[in-house]
Structures are given as C-alpha cells and as structure tokens.
C-alpha cells in the first residue's frame, strides 16, 4: 500500500513537472491562472477528464490555446467565454447554474427532502 502511494505520488509529480516544463510562465500569477483553467475545462474526447489530465490531441491543442491566451493577458472570464462560445456549456466541468440545468443542481436536495418526508411519515405511523 505504501509502495503504491509512493508510485502514485511519483507519477503525479512527474505529470506536474511535465506540465510546468511544457507551459512555462515567468509570472507565478499567470501560472496559477493557467493551472486553474486547465482544471475548469472538460476534455471533449475523454469526457470525464479535465484538460490538465488529458493527453488527447484535442486537449493538448486546447492547452496550447489557453497558454497563448493567458500570455496575451486575457482574463479568466474572457477565456471561459471563448471556450463556451466554441464548444458550448458542456466544456465546463462544473455546469453553470441556468434554468436549463436547474433540475441537475436541485434534484439531489429535492430527493433528500422527499426521503426525509417519507421517513417522517413512516415514523409517525409506527409511533401510533
């Protein structure tokens, strides 16, 4: 188990080092912005991966594009708009809260309430 975690840690560090080598920034603030952005967007090829983790060609190109935009001093909202304009909301790993996605966001809470209600009624009936 311990050896496994060392291996996993090693791989993670290597990936991080690779990313830093590949997309070097002089300004640590931009580095941070870039890193955050690569975790914000979905790789559209392997859909449950973010751009940071994905090695798909499209993800690589999108990372190149992000690198360029960050270096051009574009702000995070501007870059998000750029990506959503081309690939739609789906490229955001965390879907935006708009009427169309309201069910997605609130259904878990709603189901929990229904569950609590059922339990409460069962409990009341059992008590009698």
């Amino acid at each position: 188990m311990r050896r496994l975690s060392v291996i996993v840690l090693g791989v993670l560090l290597a990936v991080g080092a690779y990313a830093a080598d590949h997309y070097p920034f002089k300004d640590p603030k931009k580095q941070r912005q870039f890193n955050e952005l690569t975790h914000t967007f979905r790789c559209l090829v392997c859909q449950n991966e973010d751009l940071a983790a994905s090695q798909a060609t499209l993800a690589m190109r999108l990372k190149d594009q992000l690198y360029e935009m960050v270096n051009k001093d574009m702000t995070t909202p501007q870059i998000k708009q750029y990506m959503v304009h081309r690939y739609g909301d789906f490229i955001m790993l965390k879907p935006p809260l708009v009427p169309r996605t309201a069910l997605l966001w609130f259904l878990p809470v709603l189901l929990l309430l229904v569950g609590v209600l059922i339990l409460w009624r069962m409990h009341r009936r059992g008590g009698r």
Binding site: T57, R86, Y87
Partner: protein, 182 residues
C-alpha cells in the same frame, strides 16, 4: 399515511417504471454527440492557406451553400467516408470544402492524390487552430453553412448515403428555397 394494497402496488410499479424509462433514455443518448455551440452563428473570421499554399479567409463561405467536411490523412474513418464524398455529386450551387485538421498539407495532398479529390477547396489547418474556432472535437465532422456564412447544421462521424438523402439534402433544398425567395 395509510395506503391501500392497491395504492402500494401502484406506487411500486410507478417507481420501477420511472427508473427503467431513465435507463432507456440514457441508453439512446450518446454523450459524444454534442450539439454544436455554433449553430446559428456566422463562420469564424480566419486567415489560412489551402494545401497548395494559397491564402484563404472567411469570405470563402459567403455567397454559396457550403458543405464543410473536416478530415485528416491520419484519420482512418475519414478514408472510409472519403469513398462517399468521391461518389457524391454536389448540387450545382453547393461547394464542398474540406478542413484538413491537424495534418501536414503535404500528407493531405498525397492522401487526395491516392484517394481522389472530391473537394472544391481544401483548407489546411496544421495546428488545429481553425478547428478550435469551429468547435471541432473529432474527425470526421461535417457542417452545413448557408449562403450568408451562417452555420446551420453539424454532424459528427461518417456521412452515409442514407443520411445524406434523409438529413442533408432536405436541409440544402430548404436553404436553396429560402434564398431564392429573398
């Protein structure tokens, strides 16, 4: 809350029905078939070369109906689809344009020499930049663009004869009609 036996059976059946219809729906839902975010929008402004090095820009898409096929010489599925484009004659007012995606123009030229060239224009996009502007995420992809350069329709994957007849031709006809009436 007292439920009669009938009600209880009804509730159970309902729950199971809802559950299975959810499963049924997701069975037919392919998450890789994304609706393009660019439908209804004008083609991006761009500067690129064709595979022979001739400069091109977005005006290529103005004034004619365009079927834009995204392909690459490295894409095996595209080679399969290529047979379809070779054997298809476009209506006279429709241009068939290719976007050679993440591919070297030399390799694309070789591919077209070997397999035949059905395209009126082949845009070279060696780094996939224009592809990003079009929201391309896999090849092959095909777009229908109207006379004003507005993207009207997109399909991911191989276009087949049947799909062409059922999906593409009717859309091209309606673009021709709406254009003629204005």
């Amino acid at each position: 809350m007292m439920m009669s036996r009938g009600q209880r059976v009804g509730m159970t059946v309902l729950t199971i029905a809802v559950f299975f219809s959810l499963l049924w729906v997701s069975l037919h839902h392919d998450p890789h078939r994304l609706k393009s975010a660019l439908i209804g929008k004008t083609v991006p402004v761009f500067q690129a070369d064709d595979i022979a090095g001739k400069p091109l820009n977005q005006t290529l898409f103005y004034g004619k109906i365009t079927v834009l096929n995204v392909f690459a010489s490295w894409c095996d599925t595209c080679a399969v689809e290529h047979v379809f484009w070779i054997n298809r004659s476009m209506p006279s007012d429709v241009q068939l344009v290719a976007l050679d995606y993440m591919d070297s123009p030399e390799k694309a030229a070789e591919f077209l020499k070997d397999h035949g060239n059905p395209y009126d224009v082949v845009i070279s996009d060696p780094k996939g930049k224009l592809g990003i502007d079009f929201g391309v995420y896999g090849v092959p992809e095909t777009y229908l663009i109207d006379q004003a350069g507005v993207i009207r329709f997109k399909r991911v994957g191989v276009v087949t004869s049947n799909q062409w007849k059922q999906v593409w031709l009717p859309r091209i006809r309606s673009l021709e009609v709406s254009h003629a009436s204005t």
